[in-house]
């Protein structure tokens, strides 16, 4: 991983703020999307797309690139905002999200949008697909790493743990999973709907290297991703404690904002808050 300093961290914080505003604007304009989970994962995505991932917007299909699978595909607005800012397609495309002829689908589609490594949307697939990708990379002696970002509610599904098991069996040190652990899902709090604790212990018992961090602290995210690269014999999971709706006070920790777009008044209030944060 590239080195970073205080100014780099400040820059990534600014980028995260930009991604929050851009995602929210997309969701407001389209009157559809998932604000809560975009806001909670914005810092993680800023670090990945603007510091960690070895990618080239000029060559989206470059074989040596790091791979990223947005397993929590409903945070598509966040991914699209990051890809556009990195130059995979014009930022103006974001205004057309969801239009019939726009390449930006409701959930990410690898065939339509440059920079999307894998189609997602139905929860649970990221880790098992990352497993196959990482095995293929090892078999073909390719040095790229595979990253996947999951939601916490997503981890209630069995396919996640099938993939977790398989990554451990094959000692896939080239896989890093990040869980956006905001403790809120569509119907309420994760700890009420179907508790996942002791969460870190679950991953540990599946023989993963586990790093627990504050998912809004850019320095901690950077350090965790750096550490993950040094562990060759095990896959790593970064359990990032986050706040659903982070940065917009009236959205924070509220299940309501999982998949509801803001109205004009709410949008303006939210943007004003995010502007102040910057």
């Amino acid at each position: 991983m590239k080195k970073y300093d205080d100014s780099g961290i400040a820059e990534l914080n600014k980028t995260a703020n930009y991604l929050r505003k851009q995602s929210l604007t997309m969701i407001y304009q389209r009157q559809a999307g998932h604000p809560g989970g975009c806001l909670s994962a914005a810092d993680i995505m800023a670090v990945l797309y603007f510091h960690v991932l070895r990618i080239d917007p000029q060559r989206p299909g470059w074989e040596g690139r790091d791979r990223f699978i947005l397993s929590k595909g409903h945070a598509s607005a966040l991914l699209y905002s990051a890809l556009a800012k990195r130059g995979f397609f014009p930022v103006s495309d974001l205004d057309h999200w969801g239009e019939l002829n726009c390449h930006l689908q409701g959930h990410p589609d690898r065939l339509k949008t440059a920079g999307v490594d894998m189609t997602s949307g139905i929860l649970g697939h990221g880790i098992a697909i990352a497993c196959g990708l990482a095995m293929a990379a090892r078999l073909q002696r390719q040095g790229f790493r595979t990253y996947t970002l999951l939601g916490d509610g997503e981890c209630q599904g069995g396919i996640v743990w099938e993939g977790v098991n398989a990554c451990a069996k094959y000692n896939l040190g080239n896989v890093t999973a990040i869980v956006d652990y905001n403790d809120v899902q569509l119907d309420g709090a994760v700890h009420d709907i179907m508790p996942m604790e002791p969460f870190a212990d679950k991953w540990r018992s599946f023989r993963w290297n586990v790093i627990s961090i504050d998912g809004h602290d850019v320095r901690q995210i950077l350090e965790a991703l750096q550490q993950a690269e040094t562990v060759a014999s095990q896959p790593t999971v970064i359990i990032a404690r986050t706040i659903k709706g982070k940065g917009v006070s009236f959205m924070e920790n509220k299940a309501h904002w999982h998949g509801v777009p803001p109205n004009k008044q709410e949008y303006e209030a939210a943007m004003a808050e995010l502007e102040r944060e910057k």
């Binding site: 189609t119 697909i129 095995m135 293929a136 073909q140 390719q142 099938e162 098991n165 398989a166």
Partner: protein
Amino acid sequence: MTDISGLAMREAYGRALADYGAVNTRVVALDADTSSSTLSNFFAKRFPDRFFNFGIAEPCMIDAAVGFALDGMVPFANAFAALVALRALEQVRTCVCYARTNVKIAASYAGVSDFKDGPTHHAITDIAIMRSLPEMTVIVPADSYQAAAFVPLIAEYDGPVYFRLNRAATPAVSQPGESLQIGKGVVRRPGRDVTIAACGSMVGRSLKAAGLLSREGIDAGVLDLHTVKPIDKELIISAARQTGAMVSAEEHTIIGGLGSAVAEVLGESFPVPLVRVGIHDTFARTGPDPDAVMDAFGMGIADIVKACREAIGLKRL
């Protein structure tokens, strides 16, 4: 060329996959704890570094196959048809078909060929399910020759394929060395009075039925529609034009499978009577051998003979 017509279909496939693995080093094989049944273990023995066992977790195996395909490899995912087409269906729909990843699903023990284990292990709805998925190609080999000969064709075809295999040997219908093409059916027997459009184990049975019918003075033709999707419309229409009556025959429910595919072509392009042979909207039972189960559940040679007479009768109405 070695005569493999007597081999179990799964063995012909397993040996062919291992042979092809030497030709194409991008091929990997995955299994879900069934490699000694699907016989992907022939590949595993020759190429242990390219064989991966995911345990009894078909959804994970399919997703991992997707990962291999994303990195340019050609994964053959092996499992029991009943499981891969049902338990892993969401993976197949979203990550294989919608994402159009180059995954090859080798679905073994299809139809009622797992007679011993009973209806839990029968796959009688898989053609209907797989046929309805956009981007999916569905291939049902008629005999061991096809089970082997399709392996390189499937590997070299760019896109998702569902390859439906029987556990045991089925009656041989192919001429060794005959050329095969995905999407192009084969006329196994020309006929004037009625055409039987069959796939899989029912091609051989249909030829036997046609033999019996000829003694009654009925000239029945037999089409081997190994590719159920995309279906060979031209061949079906030209047969319907010649005989004016059709029968479909498959080791599968009559709902949604080959019979439905044939009905769609006829209904839209050249309407003639069609009688479907297959399982009639019921679960089959455990039996002493595949033939006994097939005979008991509407897929006997006698059922095909009867269906041909019915189709001809309808033509005269």
